[in-house]
Symmetry: C2
Subunit: 416 residues, 2 copies
């Protein structure tokens, strides 16, 4: 049986319509990597009785319980008190912790406000997890063979604490199963089509569990090795997974863009860098989104010269050299305009490649011949210029994301 | 006492590191508008025993329980069965529901797969909530004065069902408190400074509860009327809230950009449209993000001519007319380059206004004089050209968002 964990995110702000508990995603990923599963996630407010009930219930069904947030210096921050109460462990003031908090304030030239003394309260028997990035330390408690972690809410405090202290502690105390898995990242194809191609292969592996996740044009395939016979050596798991991945890649071909967690824009960037090529982009319906994705990658200035967001026809003419006649005869959403945009971006920037997108993201702007979701992509390089037609579903935001990702994926496939 | 609700999101995919339960935000907002509070949110997988325990516990402490997801046609989708089991209500096949599902398939030229028959199973005594946007209808059950809603997982199915059917049913069955509230949206200032200015005012209103939420440069102030004397007429609440808002606006001035839910880019767009002005943008460190935000607004082509993402120095020179000398003497991240970028964008597009951002988003590219987070904004219009220096905190993504939002807010404040 894998280790079962429960994550309880504490804070009334997480029960408003504006805040989501994102820490749980990070913790889940780290747990999954050591073969532990998250069985339940809960969000509770700052009411002691709700929190008390959630902790008690979590301890009944899970091996590891995480409480995130609720370690601040104000009286809203009740996690220390409630845990001490549920486990019947008196709180004591830890002088070492207090001294660290004081010194942290002194370093920035401030005096510790009296409130912060609360952050040095430690339930008896708890182990203090130092927090190099904030005032509140984390806490670890053991109770009847189960582990309870109290972690600070800010991600930049929580994340290193989980990696450096929490995961090693879980491995030491509870042991772990080795989870062997492989991941394939796929772009440019529908989930149903990918599954149609891959499922006859992965279904024939009884010792492999497959998960398929799709999100606006990007598909993740995960293959987990779960041997029916628990005595199987790990080497056999590696062999099976490698064989399965090779066979699935055989049918998916260049739809697969990575075998590890990586964004599409990062994969495109690596190819451009390896091949010493430069890129310029011309965007209309995507409104800067292709550039924004590409520039999210640090160091993208090495291969990305720049982009034109030509929202008006005049900008297409003046900045990219699109022919006025073609705009009036064929319209801005047409194969020839997409090609001229790509060629214009390349020529004006002297880049190796020009990439373009023009389309109707909606909700307005559609005609009977040109419905919402119609997008033309253009690509221009040393070997010529061509265009490609897309008909995308979704609302304005989804159409823009799909158009940008399909453009990046088209570029990627030409580079491989 | 306000109505207490609990939301249980069902689906193993929500326990992976990739998926967040976002439906709960929508439901929370709709409940808050009728004065109901969400007391707990839970995510459980497709294990019947976990779900059974969560439902039973929710019914102990909440007036309304929502189950989202888990209404699909496969055997993973167990919500109907588990609810029927917990409430001891036998499931029956609803012929009317089945007929609707069949007809839905026929309209698209397909035959209903046998699996989908499961979606027509209804616990005895449940009311069917029609789903015009999908096959699985919602279900409403009453149990000892409490309400249980089973809702489909896809947001485009769930959202209209909540607004059109669920909220009216809650109002009819449980009654509601009227929640009077006002919202102020603020940009361009730190949360602590906004609270320093506003708190002396709102603290003097004993009948008003204030919430302040900050998210990467945008601050929301909410004032809820919670009269100490429950017999107060609503008119008094409106009078108090209007007075409070006027006084807070008096100290915040043009930091406030909206009194209702609205994005900053939408507020900027409305001002440009009202004043008949056009805009062109030149971006370096923000990499297209300013344009991407502006073009998220449908109809933005009315005032937005286009944008240049000049990532390389050569693009700044060739496309915007930035002087090569200034780039080599002062560097790309300098007041004079920001001003030339803004003026160049305006001149090349013949727009009324040019807006520019150049900076160091990190993690690389910093020097001792120019640290990560240093950003210069430029603005150019008929009255001249000027620049502004920012020193922003955060990682690459946060710096880019803050820079883009500060640029948009600077433009907004010049327009008002």
């Amino acid at each position: 049986m894998p280790i079962r964990a429960e994550i309880i995110a504490v804070g009334s702000e997480l029960l408003t319509p504006w805040r989501l508990d994102t820490n749980s995603l990070f913790i889940t990923r780290q747990l999954n990597l050591i073969g532990a599963l998250v069985a339940r996630k809960t969000v509770v407010g700052d009411r002691a009785e709700d929190l008390r009930a959630s902790i008690a219930r979590a301890l009944e069904t899970s091996d590891v319980v995480f409480l995130t947030g609720g370690l601040g210096p104000t009286t809203d921050d009740i996690n220390r008190e409630v845990v001490a109460d549920v486990l019947e462990r008196p709180l004591r003031l830890d002088e070492q912790v207090l001294e660290k908090i004081r010194r942290r304030y002194q370093r920035t030239g401030m005096t510790m406000p009296p409130n912060n003394q609360r952050q040095a309260l430690v339930p008896s028997g708890a182990q203090v997890l130092p927090n190099p990035n904030g005032t509140a330390p984390g806490l670890m408690l053991e109770e009847s063979g189960k582990l309870i972690f109290l972690l600070p809410g800010p991600p930049r405090e929580l994340e290193p604490m989980v990696v450096d202290q929490v995961i090693p502690a879980i491995r030491t105390r509870l042991g772990t199963e080795t989870t062997l898995y492989r991941q394939l990242k796929i772009a440019g194809e529908a989930e149903s089509r990918v599954d149609f191609l891959a499922s006859p292969i992965y279904r024939s592996y009884a010792d492999v569990e497959t998960t398929i996740l799709a999100s606006t044009g990007i598909i993740d395939l995960f293959f987990y090795w779960r041997p029916l016979d628990a005595d199987q050596p790990e080497a056999e798991g590696h062999r099976l997974l490698d064989e399965l991945v090779a066979r699935v890649r055989g049918v998916l071909g260049d739809l697969v863009y990575a075998e590890a967690e990586q964004t599409l824009e990062c994969a495109v960037g690596e190819l451009l860098r390896q091949q010493g090529k430069t890129l310029a982009v011309a965007e209309s319906c995507t409104g800067g989104l292709i550039m924004q994705m590409l520039t999210e990658v640090p160091g993208s200035s090495d291969y990305l010269l720049g982009g034109f967001v030509t929202y008006s026809n005049q900008a297409k003419i003046d900045w990219l050299g699109v022919k006025e006649d073609d705009l009036s005869v064929h319209g801005a959403v047409s194969p020839c305009v997409a090609e001229q945009m790509a060629a214009g971006a390349r020529a004006r920037s002297k880049a190796s490649i020009g990439l373009a997108a023009t389309g109707i993201a909606g909700p307005g702007g559609a005609t009977t011949e040109k419905p919402v979701g119609l997008v033309y992509l253009g690509i221009s390089d040393g070997s010529g210029t061509e265009s490609r037609k897309l008909q995308l579903n979704g609302d304005r935001a989804v159409i823009r994301i799909r158009a940008a990702r399909t453009a990046l994926d088209w570029l990627r496939r030409r580079l491989v």
